[in-house]
């Protein structure tokens, strides 16, 4: 619960403050958003499975975002940033789909 409240509070602060994102961080924003979506879908699935754990949810959120950003950063350094971004988006997209499929199955079955 505290995780959800914290997330909501963070989103509110972000919307209210509207800070300018440094240009250096710009390439990582789409990846971060997709990773966040993936984690949210995973969290929803875990909730439906009755296995939701706020700590795990937040740490996996953090790690997904960081790893995705790191992969893009690595790609940028290697000169394949665009391709690696695509790869990360594809993998995260598949995960979002699989989580959504699991959620749908659970909801329809029960």
């Amino acid at each position: 619960m505290i995780a959800i409240l914290g997330l909501a509070a963070g989103i509110l602060v972000g919307i209210v403050l509207q800070p300018d994102v440094p240009v250096a961080l710009q390439p990582y924003l789409p990846i971060a958003v997709v990773a966040a979506l993936d984690t949210l879908a995973g969290g929803l699935r875990a909730t439906l499975d009755g296995a939701f754990n706020a700590h795990v949810f937040i740490t996996s959120f953090l790690f997904n975002v960081l790893i995705a950003a790191f992969l893009v950063f690595l790609g940028d350094q290697l000169g394949v940033g665009a391709q690696l971004s695509t790869a990360v988006i594809v993998v995260l997209g598949i995960r979002i789909f699989s989580n959504a499929a699991a959620i749908r199955r659970r909801l329809v079955r029960s």
Partner: protein, 323 residues
Amino acid sequence: MPDPQEQTPEPHSRQTPHGETPYSPMSLLRALTSNPLDVETLRGTEGRHEEAAPPDTAATTVFTTIAALALGFLVAISVADLRADAAAEDSPRALLAEEVRESRDQAAALEAEQAELQGDVSALQEDVLGSTDAGAAAELGTAEAAAGSVALAGPGVVLQLDDSDQLPASPGVAEGTVNAVTDQDLQIAVNGLWAAGAEAVSVNGQRLTATSAIRTAGDAVLVDLRPLSPPYRITALGDPDALRAGVEDSVAGEYLEEISLRFRIPVTWEASEELTVPARTVTGLREARPVDEVDSSAAEPSAPAAATQDDGAAPDPTPEETP
């Protein structure tokens, strides 16, 4: 829609059908290709790990809260920033349109200023010449009227040409054809009016002078490089009856009759006692110089001549129709 996985739910095992553990490098790819939308085996083992997670302590709660705050903040600003970026992508067109509008306003303002200054200059000229040399003032007035640098008012005619309506199908004509007025039609009409003794002519508010050009670019008729749209109203100052009779008795009149009959171009005449033609918006000062200074092509005609296709109109003090 039932899918095969639902009928035979596999127990969560640590081995994939290929005998790999979930941690084998290829297992994720295999799972994705064999069952692209469900990496259940992998998630299942994860789930067990999650259940085995230690209960919350104060430290994990604090960490969780801080991380949640940071992540929420991050996602919010990311989304806000990306949305701003996406909106900015449409902007080059908007920026260009804005620039065009600004330039137009600027041009209109400059034109107004130019007209105002021209008025000032004329007034001052009149002041000076009126008190010193009345003959020169009269001469200047005549020259200005002829050169189109002052607006003129008086009786005259308005000859209006318009594109035809959509024509019904007939031999050689597809249904819905619209016959448009061409630059040549306008040239002939204008030349006819000059020949009939018009003192000043304007087309849709564009004053015609000795150096005016009526041309075409695409579908638009340009007068002095300004695109005009139909109907084309040619305002000519002079004796209304004489102008109309002069045009109708000439080759230009025959031509107008021909296009109105054959191509259904509406040609209408209006006579009026009070018409105005504006001054020419931009008047570059050109002068004749002796031959040894410049070549003779820089010489300019001194009187309004026939509006011809070329800007460098040949001197033609007695305008004639160009067929």
